[in-house]
Amino acid sequence: MTQTSEPAITIRGMNKFYGTFHALKDIDLTVEQGERIVICGPSGSGKSTLIRCVNHLEAHQSGNITVLGTALDNNIAHIDEVRREVGMVFQHFNLFPHMTVLENCALAPMLVRKWPRAKAEELAMQYLEKVKIPDQAEKFPGQLSGGQQQRVAIARSLSMQPKVLLFDEPTSALDPEMISEVLDVMVSLANEGMTMLCVTHEMGFARQVADRVIFMDQGEIIEQNPPEEFFGNPQSERTQKFLSQILGH
């Protein structure tokens, strides 16, 4: 399906409306395979909307999105194809509360990839080990701390062996102590070469792993640059203002 040379995500002239509200305006964005991108911007700027369009949780109204060579168009089969290859981690974890951690992770491989339970659970355990909570496998999400839950959510995404991972503010619902444990996992994923699109305000993380930082405001991409340049020499005024606020206190 994918050739190594082609970009992981290509967005061309994409527009998104909620009713009459113009949420994303003429977005152009190309993400190469293995690239790690951090998206930031003020609240309501359309960051979540952008990455939700990438796996078609939101339908866009015009323009093209191609993910791993598959165009997101009216064809339902294409959507399914993209979702199989793109994982997503949410701000509020969205674990399935009525299933154990292991079941959470093994569910999709069993249903979507049609793997036998044994194989799915074996793999799920591997990923739970990777996020360092194999011992919690039999617990229910409600019994875990926020940080643990988010790590389970990451393991759940990984269990589908996605080629691209999307993160929507994965640490912003966590207590300060737990943020670092989740960031650690994300850093290690980044170091392994996973293609990542990450909405976050953790600027430390951005500095450490991002290949590119994208700043959005009012539905537009205002600026995109490697982190050194982005933080060191922000070009637009809005970016400067935002950075001063966010790094300020």
Binding site: L57, D80, R84, V86, N94, L111, V112
Partner: protein, 358 residues
């Protein structure tokens, strides 16, 4: 704001005093309440037990002479009440069938059996056993037409099959109503609201009596099944709204998470949405069961010998006509036993789920 005595003084007596005799007004109210309660209890006990006639052996005359309840009518006519018009020699089958349903209900109340497979096996198996016991035609049992079914087993049959047919229908309606497609959700909404605006009686009447005029002969089926279909539709319209309420309680993130894992619609519904929705909807669902069970009594209007009609027939004969209060009391007790255990069980379930939740 004076410092009140916070510690100590626990124990029954203190609690009683605190609760019921803390002030003169409170005391008077408590005494009045107690007196009323005692009066009611005494009157009922006297009527139902101390002055009552229990045996039918002495005939109705003994009842007319006594002040209390005439349970003799139950003694004489209980088979009619419980089994209705079912052939007398075959009453054991009707009784056994009821037992099957009770066992089936009890089994499905045990958490151990709470998975799709066991539940389906228990219900479908139990239901088929019930059906063939009642209907006969296999293992040399004589065939007994639905026309002759009656009493408690008919009531139970109506209830169980209403729920069995209505539940999947309600899930379907709930899903259709929350569909993204405006025409589908709109039309489903109209259907649900219309059914809910109608008295059940009119729906039963329409299905039992009017449908045969409208359907070709081969499609009409037995009157009983038509009426059950109507009652299932009514149940489903209410239950659909309950389930939809439960679905709204499931955060949208759940479905989004499943979507982003590539899980298809059917599996999302089955594995993610419905389990959580049902959990949210449980109290209301139990309540709906209770209401549905009570409403089986409306089948009398379209000529079925469910338990209320059997009751009517039980006192509807020359020498027992005066004893209808006792018959109603007996039937009310049967209803109560069922309804009460249902609601207790519902309370138990709720507590159980709260514990699992944390």
């Amino acid at each position: 704001m004076a410092m009140t005595d916070q510690m100590g003084r626990t124990g029954m007596l203190a609690v009683l005093r605190e609760r019921y005799f803390s002030s003169p007004g409170n005391t008077i109210l408590s005494i009045i309440c107690f007196a009323i309660l005692a009066l009611i209890v005494w009157t009922v006990l006297d009527w139902a037990i101390f002055s009552a006639v229990f045996s039918a052996a002495k005939g109705p005359g003994a009842c007319k002479a006594a002040d209390g309840a005439c349970w003799a009518v139950i003694d004489a006519r209980w088979q009619l009440i419980l089994f209705g018009l079912y052939p007398h020699e075959e009453h054991w089958r009707s009784g056994l069938a009821c037992l099957v349903v009770v066992v089936m209900t009890v089994l499905s109340c045990i958490p151990y059996f709470w998975n799709g497979r066991s539940i389906s096996i228990i219900w479908i198996g139990g239901f088929l056993t019930f059906y063939f016991l009642m209907k006969g035609g296999i293992f040399g049992m004589t065939v007994v037409d639905e026309q002759r079914w009656g009493g408690l087993s008919l009531t139970v049959f109506i209830f169980v099959s209403t729920v069995l047919v209505g539940m999947p229908l309600s899930i379907l309606l709930a899903l259709l109503r929350r569909s993204d497609l405006p025409w589908i959700s709109g039309l489903t909404g109209i259907i649900i609201d219309s059914v809910r605006s109608l008295p059940l009686l009119t729906i039963l009447f329409a299905f039992a009596v009017v449908l045969p005029f409208v359907l070709p002969d081969w499609a009409s089926g037995d009157k009983l099944y038509r009426a059950i279909l109507g009652s299932a539709l009514f149940f489903a319209a209410y239950q659909a709204e309950i389930i939809r309420g439960g679905m709204q309680g499931v955060p949208t993130g759940q479905e989004e998470a499943a979507k982003s894992l590539g899980v298809r619609y059917f599996h999302r519904i089955q594995r993610i949405l419905l389990p959580q929705a049902f959990k949210n909807a449980l109290p209301a669902t139990i309540n709906q069961f209770v209401i549905t069970f009570k409403e089986t009594s409306l089948f009398i209007i379209i000529g079925f010998f469910e338990i209320l009609a059997s009751g009517n027939a039980a006192y509807g004969t020359g020498n027992w006509t005066f004893a209808f209060v006792e018959v109603y009391a007996f039937i009310a007790l049967i209803y109560f036993a069922f309804v009460f255990s249902l609601s207790r069980y519902g309370a138990f379930l709720e507590r159980r789920m709260d514990v699992g939740d944390q």
